[in-house]
């Protein structure tokens, strides 16, 4: 258990070192439309007819050297943001493991837990929990409803 926590902490420290502090992940809609805009010409030229999905990512990898700098840059940011948001949604129960009993009195990683975290002020959360919860995008999605 302790080992698990220290592993999560180590992982978080690595992420925090690599990524700008307090950076936000993009919504999937914003991320993928940035890709579509920045890479429109490159997709038409090198990946025409390639379906959105793993094959498009492979096509980008294969043709990276030929693609416009703007597309390359955007693509890297977009896929980083998408995987960071996915990881945050997957790992929220771990990242907020210490906060949840204190703030929510539950350890159920279900919709009630998320509702509780949505109701908690960011200042009351540990930095690690708050950053991961921010990365899930659930606050901004709630604001869109």
């Amino acid at each position: 258990m302790n080992r698990e926590i220290s592993l999560v902490c180590a992982l978080w420290l690595v992420l925090a070192a690599v990524l700008p502090v307090n950076a936000q992940t993009m919504s999937y809609a914003d991320a993928i439309s940035q890709l579509a805009a920045a890479c429109r010409n490159d997709i038409a030229r090198y990946c025409k007819g390639v379906p959105l999905g793993p094959r498009l990512k492979t096509c980008f990898d294969t043709n990276e050297a030929r693609m416009s700098p703007q597309c390359q840059q955007t693509r890297a940011a977009v896929y980083t943001s998408i995987s960071r948001r996915a990881a945050a949604q997957r790992n929220i129960a771990d990242a907020c493991g210490a906060d949840i009993p204190r703030l929510c009195g539950t350890s159920y990683a279900d919709a009630h837990l998320v509702e509780c975290l949505l109701s908690v002020s960011p200042a009351a959360m540990s930095p690690q929990c708050n950053q991961t919860f921010t990365d899930t995008g659930w606050r901004t999605e709630r604001a869109r409803q």
Partner: protein
């Protein structure tokens, strides 16, 4: 009920977008999609994707040639929370155009919304009446599959909560104008709770 009203409002948004020729980006946003899909009734849907696909094929076999005067209906779906969007595909192809990437991303954002955690969804593809009915069933199935595939990768939606069904032209939205673009659409339907969650976040089929 309120959710139903919201889905009507959501549908009205889409119709407005078509009527004014607004680009696909002006369709409903992920928050409106999530709200449209929420608030499903507790009754479990007793209709599978396989049964729907069979009903579509039976409809073509029983009423060959022109479309029958009464369109194929699934009354079980009518009161479920749902919304409709347009997705652009390459001509006669299941490849989603980059102009619709945003729509797929927004559907993914909605399906990841905590209010929809653990629910299952139908992704139903519809075509207009251009082309043979049987062909259109296959095309709409491949297109619905392509949307499901993209929601899974790169957008990380759980494959176990998504079922894709191709309806072909069997349920035109505007039967008086069967070739109109409004008939080409994707319908997302909440079919009820599929998964529950345990103490450490593990998911299991709800008892």
């Amino acid at each position: 009920m309120k959710p139903h009203l919201i889905s009507v409002v959501a549908a009205a948004f889409v119709i407005w977008a078509v009527a004014t020729g607004a680009p696909a980006q002006q369709q409903i946003n992920s928050g409106q999609m999530a709200t449209s899909l929420a608030g499903v009734s507790n009754t479990k849907l007793s209709l599978t994707g396989a049964e729907m696909r069979q009903a579509v094929l039976d409809n073509i076999r029983n009423y060959p040639g022109a479309l029958p005067p009464h369109a194929l209906a699934f009354p079980q779906l009518e009161n479920l929370a749902q919304f409709v969007v347009e997705v652009d595909f390459d001509f006669n192809s299941a490849v989603i155009r980059p102009s619709s990437y945003r729509t797929i991303g927004a559907i993914a954002d909605a399906l990841h919304n905590p209010i929809l955690l653990g629910y299952g969804f139908l992704v139903i593809g519809h075509t207009d009446s251009v082309g043979g009915r049987q062909y259109n069933v296959g095309l709409s199935q491949r297109r619905a599959d392509a949307i499901r595939d993209a929601l899974i990768d790169p957008f990380n939606v759980n494959p176990a909560v998504l079922e894709a069904v191709g309806m072909g032209e069997e349920q035109l939205r505007d039967p008086k104008h069967p070739t109109s673009g409004v008939n080409r659409r994707v319908q997302l339907v909440n079919v009820g709770k599929k998964f529950c969650f345990g103490r450490s976040g593990e998911q299991f089929v709800c008892p």
